[in-house]
């Protein structure tokens, strides 16, 4: 099993990919990708908090903002990515490889 970890900071200025991001101070909300679905499909966090996507399927997946402002990039089985959301709003996303897979991240103040 190959584990990948990626951190992305998403704010008003768009997505910044890096590995030296300051911790948000709370554990990420976890979204499991299983059987071609995001579980849970909808999550709510506060600004500055993070979401962690973990792919459990054989098929590679992504979590990609519908406006393509942020993206986990490809997650193989066992792969995971963490994205921090700094700006309140509603962020619908999908899997770029399997577009019927959809989810929403809601960020509150």
């Amino acid at each position: 099993m190959r584990l990948t970890r990626r951190q992305v900071c998403f704010g008003a200025g768009g997505a910044i990919v890096g590995s030296a991001l300051p911790a948000s101070g709370s554990s990420p909300v976890v979204v499991d990708i299983r059987a071609f679905a995001f579980e849970p499909a909808e999550v709510t966090i506060r600004a500055g908090e993070t979401v962690r996507w973990i792919n459990h399927d054989f098929a590679p997946h992504t979590a990609t903002d519908v406006e393509v402002n942020w993206d986990t990039e490809e997650l193989e089985k066992g792969g995971q990515a963490v994205i921090r959301f700094d700006t309140p709003g509603t962020y619908p996303y999908f899997c770029a490889y399997h577009p019927h897979m959809k989810g929403v991240v809601t960020v509150t103040t």
Partner: protein, 174 residues
Amino acid sequence: MKTITLAATLAVGFAAHTAQAADKMNDLEIAHTAYTAGQIDIRYAHLALAVSDNAEVRAFAETMIRDHTAVNVAAGDLITKLKVTPQDNDLSRTLVKGAADKRAELMSLSGKAFDCAYAQNELGYHQVVNQTVEGVFIPTVTVEPLKDLLSEALVTFKVHEGHAEQMVNGLKCG
């Protein structure tokens, strides 16, 4: 809808043949056939990428390469872990021969004719494979990790079948 009916009819007829060939297969033969079926679809997809200019068809083909490669990598890892060698068999040979004939047919086509033929074949192929995996392979295999792998792979293949059906409908092949 006509195209789906045709594909379904072909699939049912071929599935009966396939189910007959799959009768009394052992675990190593099933592993070989499952792997072979994935490789066949990857080859169809590479052909589609070489021939088709249709964005939907190309996206589907790329997904087939990505997903079937991932499943077969997992199958290879399991084979290595179990220290066994999959066995070639009549059903694998039937699939390979059928796929060679279908590729020859597809290579004689271009444009929308190719796209429709590829899409319809993908639908029919996934119907046959899924029926065989679900109805014959999974109930037959005795090694639990192989049963688990086939069950998980079936989830992927069923999504492909649905995707292929959408592609056939979207192409309006008539």
